[in-house]
Symmetry: C4
Subunit: 277 residues, 4 copies
């Protein structure tokens, strides 16, 4: 049985065989951006840094050039218009067909047409998806055959009907209830993260207060996309929480603050290699 707390042992699930081919370690598709530019770029780069072989971003055209500009390693496609909307759904589903994981949410914003598009995507999609940020609140309103990892912070968790709690065990119980109701996996972010599908529950204690800076949630979504490509939902979310927190701890090691989300892109490989802060 898995231990309650995440730890370095969880990383053993990620070993790569020596006869691997391009794409074996995951093709991740980030659908995000529009009102925000940095979020999908952070998520996609984090997916690569956490071991995905290919990271593609579908994003509205006005921000596509800038997302591409952050890295030669990304594949970026622009969609017409200033935000994701229902007219994009068929294109996104087509692009998702030869991908391992869809990451839905980073930088999408909460405009009504965007939320409608997210709902239609979830109803039609049957693969694996990480659902983050403004896309989270759409989940409880739709039926989906997809296998989801949701990554809410506490406010978003309460939006899903989750009850707030006084202590870590309370949050875990409450998260387990919501996960069971949805039939999906939750990665509830907090000082200690709770990972649960209602049946199995894991607690992650890596991470630090410097990670309150904007963009760390986008990094976590990207890392989760990478781990979900090769693992089941609960271990994928547990490893992702552990890795992202450890990357933040490594980045913060010699600091009293001033941590940026993009710093985690630099420390993720060390975290993946088992380094301890």
């Amino acid at each position: 049985a898995a231990e309650r707390f995440t730890g370095p042992g969880d990383l053993q699930r990620l070993t790569r065989p020596t006869d691997a081919h391009k794409g074996d370690f995951g093709r991740v598709l980030v659908v995000g951006g529009g009102p925000y530019t940095g979020a999908p770029a952070l998520a996609a780069q984090a997916a690569l840094r956490a071991g995905a072989d290919l990271a593609t971003v579908l994003t509205p055209e006005p921000v596509a050039d800038q997302v591409q500009g952050f890295s030669e390693d990304l594949i970026v496609r622009g969609l017409p218009g200033a935000r994701i909307e229902p007219t994009h759904v068929s294109t996104i589903l087509e692009a998702a067909a030869d991908q391992d994981v869809l990451i839905l949410g980073p930088g999408l914003g909460a405009a009504d047409p965007t939320r409608e598009a997210v709902g239609q995507l979830l109803e039609a999609y049957e693969g694996k998806a990480v659902v983050d940020a403004d896309a989270i609140s759409v989940v409880s309103a739709v039926e989906t055959d997809a296998s989801l990892i949701l990554t809410p912070h506490r406010g978003e968790f309460e939006g899903l009907g989750g009850e707030s709690a006084d202590d870590r065990d309370g949050w875990a119980t409450s998260a387990g209830r919501v996960a069971a109701d949805l039939g999906q996996t939750l990665l509830l972010k907090g000082p200690h993260d709770v990972i649960t599908d209602g049946d199995r529950t894991r607690i992650n204690r890596t991470g630090n207060p410097g990670m309150t800076v904007g963009g760390t949630g986008d990094v976590l979504a990207g890392v989760t996309g990478a781990t979900f490509a090769t693992l089941d939902p609960v271990p994928a979310a547990a490893v992702a929480a552990y890795l992202t927190g450890m990357a933040g701890d490594l980045a913060a090691e010699s600091r009293n603050g001033g941590l940026l989300a993009s710093d985690l892109l630099g420390t993720l490989p060390s975290a993946l290699g088992g380094e301890q802060a």
Copy 2:
């Protein structure tokens, strides 16, 4: 009572509690750019490196894409037209409403419509603001309920009616008089910086001649925005001057010149962590 000279002890004010949430350490809004592009990008990145949780830039559309291109960690919004002008004031005030500190000035230029917009902003805004560069000279002509830190160099200080002086004590006295008249806090930049609200006065001795390079003032404005989010004006300005100078000293340590303002973005975390040059 606070000591006269800034020092490492000032950094203790910046400790982060372990149960922090996103945004607890400050949401900073930079209003700048138009004739200049790098200035608002430096200020916003410096705010994050000094511990702010979110840095948003409002800047004219022709430079917005480039400001965003410098960092995935920034949130950038373009305003129509080539420079900030009165038509933007309501949008800026709306954006400032859920921010902790407004940084007004970096790269704005001194065009008449821009100065008019700055005046209208200061008259309507009631929160905390750092006022830098070409925005400084507008302050003496308007009534404002905002709490301001002004960051003039000596030329800008004289534009505020400040008398030049022969030595550090003279500058301190002269700065105290201007600060008292304005009812605001001054961070007067020089070989030694003077921080004063007319009542309390601090002197900062970090920094070096390599910091005469362009852009270091933008970095200081950004750092001040971050510290002002959680501290009162005089300690905020004192810590900001200390940190920025120390970041410059750390960057210059092994050099005889060739320091860039953007180098300080790299050394600010070490400065924040208490490292000494």
Copy 3:
């Protein structure tokens, strides 16, 4: 006689005389991009990092600005339209006239007009060229007086009529047959790379599973362009495979994954200097 396996000794071919002039170590022209942006940028930068003196990129205008944005060291020219097509052939041939090596393929995509343009280029060009990615499948359908190094992965190799094999020796025999038929040099990528012109065969054992990440093939194409500028096809391809694999090994040394193709740009100089992972 050259040894069967590539090794550090191969690097001795790359020594630079002290009275060298600009361009002595190769002018490389990358023709790529359109549907993809990062690929030609990676190839061109890799050529410079492997010792080429000048790297020029001809790429469709919509991606030209972004390719340039990745590095001040590249010369980038935009061609009208969204992808390479027959109307560009005369411009490309003209540009190729004062270059040492043409790199044809990175990020071109497989659209019919692009394949037609590649065919026309190969028929008219008489110099040295590295042919990669979607351009590879065009080679068997055209007559060319050019001297080519083809860099197929196994799928592309089978598209050239190559038979798949059970072990390394089988792949080498099969690759030698295809190379002899084409009258060109093959660099067949795999866990162990096979370099052969049908007569001489070399095997390269550097590289690791982390290099399944997207973009490493573009880096290899660029490195091959640089080595081909001063060496004959088989030694050029052998050294390029060795260097790129070693750059990947150096980048992966302290990691369990998370390798990006762009990381190799940073480690190529160490590989070139003879460092061992």
Copy 4:
């Protein structure tokens, strides 16, 4: 008397007094770009890395955004049209009025209208200028009251009427004759650089064969602009040649090739600080 060979002692000329103000160490204006994008960006950044306080670039609009994108530390202004031409001359002269040094040449190209504009600039300008690349050949055809440092490679030197020579002393004599004829200072680039105004002659021996890569000439032009801001022409050119070569030596130290011109931006501060390769 100055020694014949440049050396670390030359760096003592560059010491900064502690009461310096912004701009004391030079305002440098780069006029370049159009057909090329990276060249003016390299020159301007090199000027800052060599100690200039402000670096402004005037460049045709189609490349202005990309030049700016390389660094927050640059001030970039776009000029209408695809290349520098006579209609820009008055704007450039106006911008040059409050600058210390004009750098004319990097990436300008050799189109007739550009050469005409360079001629008009040289005839009207009376300050200090570094003349590089395609701008060099214009100098012998115009009358100018400006104080110039020309930075030709051997081909450009012969275009100025310089005779080629068999050895270093021959080049020095030949360069001295051209410099005396022009009444200007020459920095003749080669395995050993010759710096001469026809009266005084210095030889620089730093640098290495890896510096045959494209863009190193742009870096040298930028460094010369920075040193010329505070020094006379011959010592300025001598220090610039020494620094740039030393920056190249420091960058090449652990390499067998793969040096990029942009690498020198990173090592210039160490060179300036007196480090030896």
